[in-house]
Structures are given as structure tokens and as C-alpha cells.
């Protein structure tokens, strides 16, 4: 299925939804672009509320790409549906291009057809940060006392990762974009080079410790800008961090105490503005996202 010689074997790449293109076609109608005879058979990666994410190729069979498709919603009035889909996809592409121009680590936009409801972006190698963090936490002692002892000395790689995430978000915010849905699922950890990826994935001949140390290596790439917005306000930036903070605490409760490193690095990267955003974050935390309501 995956003809790309440079990417790891297809088996590894496919995620939970491991169905063939034919089965998927039966399940979900494909966008017209993927039914073209020269298209690489797509693999359905996720089925979210917004739409579906396929892995296919762009331009040549050895350039993998992620194709995000927002199918028409049957419940929505067709005029309203077309208007929303078009506006959202065009905006997403615009935000990605802007980030790319400013050097923020996001996938490059290859092509888009907002009216048809799809956008093709660069395929990011590696795994979501969520998966990597959980893998790393999973290898640590379960026993609470042992964990405490271990915590002090070997949380280093995770702290480093938190700092890289903080810096990436600061970079994003500096360009005047807020993500709108920051979670550790919406960040990828791209391995530094293909060679190291291979060693991490097949730890034969590599000591366990070495493999573990490599687990959290890589560049943080922010993905899924479906809810992004342009904003320079402290309030919106702080809300972005608050959403991540809450998501992080519920996804990785064992590493909750490390979130401060992320914020610290955010502040350092962002400078003066970072200080006022973090100040605002205190307010946002106190208020909670949820106000008290009447009636």
C-alpha cells in the first residue's frame, strides 16, 4: 500500500484503524481527489468530529502526505455547510502558510481545494507527543516510593521535551496565531534523522537505557489547525495554554508537575510578552473556562 521507500514499513505506520482502502470506501465515501486512478491508495488514519485524515502521496508516489477531508454534514443546510467548510479550510491553509513563513514548526501545505473540502499537507514522521510521553512514563517504576526516588534524577529527557514544546508554542504565538485546541495529540515528535528512528524502533544491539534515552528525542511539530485563530491578545494566548494545561493533566496525570517547565520555557522564548501571558494565565485559571450560569 505504502510505496514510499523512505518511510518505515507500512505495518508500523498504520494506526488503530487498520482497514484496507476498499473496506473504507464502503464505510466512508472518499473525496473525489482520492478516487483518481493515479492516486496512491489512501489509508484512513483518524475519523474525528471535523473530518477524516488520510495518508496518501502527493505529486510523486514517494512523497507521503496527509489529506484532511471535511465531508459535507448531512444535518447542515447545504448552503451553510458549503460556506463553513470553505471558510474553515481556506483559513486553516492560510494559518499554516503563515506559520511556515515565520519558521514555526508546522506541516507545509501542498495543495488545497476548499470548495471540495480537502487540504493536503506534509506528512510528519514520528508519533504524537501523547504516545511518546505515555510510552516513556509507562517504562517508569509503578511503585509510588520508587517513583519518587526515580523522579528526582531521571525525569531529565521529559523535562527537555516539555521545554521544546513550550518553545514551539511561543514561536506559534509570536506569529499572531493561537491554535485553539492544543493537546499532546496535536503535536508530533519528528525523529531527528531517519537513521536514529530505525535504531529506536528496532533496539536490537542497543542497550535498553540508550533506547529509552532516545525515546523523547525529536522536533516538536504542531499539527491540526482546524480551530486556529489569528490573535495577539494575552487573553487568547493564555487560554491556549490553559486548554493545554487541562488536557495535559487529564492525559498524563503522572507528569502533571512537569508542566511548569513548559511554561518557563514559553516565557523564556517569548520574552516580555510571555511574562504578561503567564500573568493572564493566572486569571484564566482562577476564572476557569466555565462561568457560573443563571437559569
Amino acid at each position: 500500500m505504502d510505496t514510499s521507500p523512505s518511510s518505515p514499513p507500512t505495518k508500523k505506520r498504520k494506526m488503530a484503524t487498520d482497514t484496507t482502502a476498499a473496506e473504507q470506501e464502503h464505510q466512508f465515501p472518499l473525496p473525489a481527489i482520492l478516487t483518481h486512478p493515479s492516486a496512491t491508495p489512501p489509508i484512513l488514519i483518524t475519523q474525528g468530529a471535523e473530518g477524516r485524515l488520510y495518508k496518501t502521496t502527493f505529486f510523486s508516489p514517494n512523497i507521503p502526505c496527509a489529506l484532511k477531508y471535511r465531508p459535507p454534514k448531512p444535518y447542515r443546510h447545504p448552503i451553510l455547510d458549503a460556506r463553513l467548510t470553505k471558510a474553515r479550510l481556506a483559513f486553516e491553509a492560510k494559518v499554516l502558510e503563515r506559520c511556515r513563513r515565520e519558521g514555526v514548526p508546522v506541516p507545509a501545505v501542498y495543495a488545497q481545494n476548499a470548495a471540495a473540502g480537502w487540504i493536503a499537507v506534509e506528512w510528519i514522521e514520528g508519533a504524537p507527543v501523547r504516545v511518546k510521553i505515555n510510552e516513556w512514563l509507562g517504562q517508569r517504576p509503578k511503585n509510588e516510593e520508587e517513583e519518587k526516588a526515580a523522579d528526582a534524577k531521571d525525569q531529565g529527557p521529559l523535562v527537555e521535551l516539555m521545554k521544546r514544546i513550550g518553545a514551539a508554542i511561543a514561536g506559534l504565538h509570536r506569529t499572531g496565531v493561537v491554535h485553539g485546541d492544543l493537546t499532546t495529540s496535536n503535536m508530533m515528535l519528528r525523529p531527528p534523522t531517519r537513521k536514529t528512528t530505525r535504531t529506536t524502533e528496532q533496539p536490537n544491539g542497543v542497550s535498553e537505557e540508550e533506547a529509552k534515552a532516545k525515546l523523547l528525542e525529536g522536533y516538536v511539530v504542531i499539527i491540526d489547525f482546524g480551530l486556529a485563530n489569528q490573535s495577539q491578545s494575552d487573553e487568547d494566548r493564555a487560554t491556549d495554554l490553559y486548554v493545554l494545561e487541562r488536557a495535559f493533566a487529564s492525559t498524563h496525570p503522572r507528569a502533571e508537575n512537569l508542566f511548569e517547565h513548559l511554561l518557563e520555557s514559553y516565557k523564556q522564548t517569548f520574552g516580555k510578552k510571555g511574562v504578561s501571558v503567564l500573568h493572564k494565565l493566572e486569571d484564566v485559571r482562577m476564572r476557569g473556562r466555565k462561568r457560573s450560569m443563571i437559569g
Binding site: 468530529a49 444535518y75 457560573s292
Partner: protein, 354 residues
């Protein structure tokens, strides 16, 4: 004490908005299966072009409390001695009306020597919806004149995943009915729904305000009011043709309901559920139910909704939720039997669920 059949019986009093409702429910001691014994309601209806004010609504509730209570008791055919507890709405809601009903419930408790149970209005809606439809663990869309929330249950609480950032969807519809001077009888939302059925020639352009799992309605109402003013001035619509109140109602419904379905779908994807339960007064709207059904069907799930007897505020839901809490040992002592305008759904510890 339980009745002759060993059932536990509760009387519930609701009056957080313009409906005064008193209902009596029985729970089977073995299965917990609820039986509705009576469900009586009296609605305060204000003239077209106006809303219900707290002061007038409170007066209505005070004036009708005894009548409605007597009717509920008669219809249920239970004697006072068979009633186990008295449940009342503790909040959220409008202060005056809530107070009137709390005083009524307290009076009955003292008069009859029964224990009180203060109930969260939103939890009442959710529990009644679950009981009537048989939905086991749904994502709940709670939409009424005062509330707009997307809720899912997790670890002993109904957690709010998304909600309105300003006015409730029902408030948006009610106020637009006032702009068009549509009748408030039986309910402004119902009349908008009927009018919308005649519209649909054009879809007028309204803002669409979804932010993650939250949404906002005040801007939409403002734009709809502007369009209504244009219409009254005889100005044409986007296609150069004149448009009607029915077109406005249609466009408003299509827009706000699409937003509600979208945030519900996002919550369903987030928690991995394919059941959705709609509760609250706006939940009676058949167009909303239809749209939600189309979304749920695509996700391989189904939509659960109730009719106006249980969707619109009523006493029976307060009795049901109150009795569930009562069975876990929860009581509201007389000196704590207050009510509050602000009472979040996630503040309630749901001891009766796993």
C-alpha cells in the same frame, strides 16, 4: 414511608423559570424502575412582544402553588402518609420564582413532617431524560431558555464539555420571538418552529459562532434583529426578493441548531460515545431532533429525546432526581433549604451512578 406495594414515593416542585410544575414519582424498591404517578404544570404566559419578568412569574407561582399541588396529589391517587420526601429545585434559575417554590416546598415539609431534598435543575433534566428514553450513558445536550450545555458523565459527576459563552439558545429564540411579536402561547420557541416550517425559500446569512466545544448566540440574535428591521422596512433579501418572518425563523433555526449539533458531535468524538440525549425545553424542537438524528446516524449511533411532558420544565424530573439522591441517604435540612440562581451541573456529586 413506602406505599402498600413497597414503592418509595417523592413529590417534586419546580419553578425556576415561568413553569410551575409539581409531580409525583414512585421507584420500585428492587429494580429502581420509576413510575410517573402525576405530572401537573401551569405556565405563566406573557403577552406577545414581552418576556416573563421575575416579579410577575414569582407572583404566578405563589398564586398557583396550592392548586397545582392539590391537582398533582389527586391525579397520583396517593395519600400524604405514603410520600417519602419532598424535592424542590435548589437552582439554577430566576431568584424570585425559585424562592416562591422553595417556600412552598418547605411549608409542605413542615405541614406533613417530611424530609426535604434540594435538587439541581439541570441534573433533574438529565436523570429524567435517561429514565424515559433508556439511554444508558449518553452525551447530553441540555438546551433551554436559560441553559446551553454539552454534558458527559464521568466519575460521579456530570461534566460540562461545552456551553454557551453568553446567552442560552432558548433565550436567543425567545427574544427573537419578541422582536417578531410572535405569541408566547404555548411557548415562543414552539411558534418559531411552526413558522420556520413555512420558510426555507432562502437561507439568510447569519453569523456562526462555534469556539471549540463552546458557542455564542448574542451576535446571531443581534444580526437576526437587524434583518427583521430590514424586513419591516420593506428592504429585499440577498437574492433581491423580499423575505418573510418565516424565512427569518427558518434561517435562525438552521444556524443555531447546526452549531448545537456540531459541538455535540465534537463532544461525542472526544469521549467516544455514540448515544446522544437531548433535554430541556428547546429539546422538543423536531427540527433539532432531526438534525441530531442525522449526525448520530452517521456516527453509527442514535439520538434520544423526549416530548414536551418531560423536555419542558416539570415537577416530575425534580421528584425523580431528588428521590435518586434520597435513596443514597442525601437530605437537605430545613435550615439549609435555600435556593440559588447559580448552581453548576458539575457541582453535584452523583452518588447514585457508578
Amino acid at each position: 414511608m413506602p406505599d402498600a406495594k413497597g414503592r418509595r414515593i417523592a413529590l417534586g416542585c419546580e419553578g425556576s423559570a415561568n413553569k410551575l410544575g409539581i409531580g409525583i414519582i414512585a421507584h420500585d424498591p428492587l429494580t429502581g424502575e420509576p413510575t410517573v404517578l402525576s405530572n401537573v404544570r401551569d405556565t405563566f404566559v406573557s403577552p406577545p412582544g414581552t418576556g416573563f419578568l421575575p416579579k410577575d412569574t414569582a407572583r404566578h407561582h405563589r398564586a398557583y402553588f396550592v392548586r397545582v399541588a392539590k391537582k398533582a396529589l389527586e391525579a397520583a391517587g396517593v395519600s400524604i402518609s405514603e410520600i417519602d420526601c419532598l424535592c424542590y429545585t435548589k437552582g439554577p434559575g430566576m431568584g424570585g420564582p425559585l424562592t416562591s417554590v422553595a417556600v412552598g416546598a418547605r411549608t409542605l415539609a413542615l405541614l406533613w413532617g417530611k424530609e426535604l431534598v434540594g435538587v439541581n435543575h439541570c441534573v433533574g433534566h438529565i436523570e429524567m431524560g435517561r429514565a424515559i428514553t433508556g439511554a444508558t450513558n449518553p452525551v447530553v445536550l441540555y438546551v433551554s431558555g436559560g441553559n446551553t450545555q454539552v454534558i458527559a458523565y464521568a466519575e460521579q459527576r456530570y461534566r460540562i464539555f461545552g456551553e454557551t459563552l453568553d446567552i442560552a439558545v432558548g433565550n436567543c429564540l425567545d427574544r427573537f420571538a419578541r422582536t417578531l411579536e410572535i405569541s408566547n402561547d404555548p411557548a415562543p420557541g414552539y411558534n418559531i418552529e411552526q413558522l420556520a416550517k413555512q420558510g426555507g425559500r432562502v437561507l439568510l446569512d447569519l453569523p456562526y459562532a462555534v469556539k471549540g466545544m463552546d458557542c455564542s448566540f448574542s451576535g446571531i440574535l443581534g444580526r437576526a434583529d437587524d434583518l427583521a428591521a430590514q424586513m419591516k422596512a420593506g428592504e429585499p433579501g440577498p437574492d433581491g426578493e423580499p423575505f418573510t418572518p418565516a424565512d427569518l425563523c427558518f434561517s435562525l433555526q438552521e444556524t443555531v441548531f447546526a452549531m448545537l449539533v456540531e459541538i455535540t458531535e465534537r463532544a461525542m468524538a472526544h469521549v467516544g460515545s455514540n448515544q446522544v440525549l437531548i433535554v430541556g425545553g428547546v429539546g422538543c424542537n423536531e427540527r433539532l431532533q432531526e438534525m441530531m438524528g442525522a449526525m448520530a446516524a452517521e456516527r453509527g449511533g442514535s439520538v434520544y429525546a423526549t416530548d414536551e411532558r418531560f423536555c419542558i420544565d416539570n415537577g416530575i424530573m425534580i421528584a425523580h432526581a431528588g428521590l435518586l439522591a434520597y435513596e443514597t441517604g442525601f437530605r437537605t435540612p430545613l435550615e439549609e433549604s435555600t435556593c440559588t440562581q447559580r448552581f453548576r451541573t458539575d457541582e453535584v456529586f452523583v452518588k447514585w451512578r457508578d
